[in-house]
Subunit: 95 residues, 2 copies
DNA sequence: TCAGTGGTTCTAAAATTTTGGAATTAGCGA
DNA sequence: TCGCTAATTCCAAAATTTTAGAACCACTGA
C-alpha cells in the first residue's frame, strides 16, 4: 500500500474513537488550537494513563504535537495535517 | 455524545482498516460505483468470511449497500453519505 | 431433483486496542 | 533537599476487531 494510504488509515484510526474524535473537536473549537491535559481530563472520565495513550495515538497520526511548560503539557492541533486528509473537517464535524 | 458524532466515529472506524479503505477507493474508481464480491476477493488475499465481515462493517456505517442478482452480490457505494462526513474524499483519497 | 458455486453465519482463535494501578520521571516551591 | 503535583511509562487485564474453518443457505443449471 502506498505511503499516503498508510498515513490516511492511521489518521482514520486516530479519529475512530469517541474520546479522540471529541478531543480533536475540542481543539478545533478552542481559541489558539491548543489545550492542556487538565481540560481533557476534565472532559473525559478516564485515567491519566488512558488519556496519555490517546495523546500518543493522535501524535503518531501527526494530528497534534505537545509542548511542556513547567508541570503542564499542552497539545496543539495540526490543522493542515488534518485538512490534508479530511478537508473541511472543521466545518463538518465542529458542530 | 450526539447522534452525528456517533455516526461520524462509525464512519471513521469503517475507514480505519486498510482493506476497507481500499475497498471504498476501488468503488470510487469504478464506473458505476458498484463492484462484486469477485473483484474484491481478487484484490485482497482474505477468506470469504473475512471479506463478508468487511462488507458488513461498511454497510453498518451506511457507506455501501448490497444487491443480489442470481449467485452474485454487488456492493454499491453511497457517495453522498461518504461525502457528508468526509467532503472531497474522492479528490483526496482516490489517488 | 440434485450437484455445484457464491456468499453468509456460526464459532473460536489471534491480534490489536483500550483501560487503569503501580512505579517512575520531571518540575515546582518551601 | 524534600515533599508535592502533573504526566508518562510499565505492566497486565478487559474489550474489541480481524481472521478463517466448518456448516449452512440461496440460487443455477443439468
Amino acid at each position: 500500500m502506498p505511503e499516503f494510504s498508510r498515513e490516511a488509515v492511521k489518521v482514520f484510526k486516530a479519529l475512530a474513537d469517541p474520546t479522540r474524535y471529541q478531543m480533536v473537536r475540542m481543539l478545533l473549537r478552542c481559541k489558539d488550537g491548543e489545550l492542556g491535559c487538565v481540560e481533557f481530563e476534565r472532559a473525559f472520565d478516564l485515567s491519566k494513563p488512558a488519556m496519555s495513550h490517546h495523546y500518543r495515538v493522535l501524535e503518531n497520526a501527526g494530528l497534534v504535537s505537545s509542548r511542556k511548560t513547567g508541570l503542564y503539557v499542552y497539545y496543539k492541533l495540526h490543522r493542515d495535517r488534518l485538512e490534508s486528509f479530511i478537508p473541511s473537517f472543521d466545518r463538518v464535524h465542529n458542530v
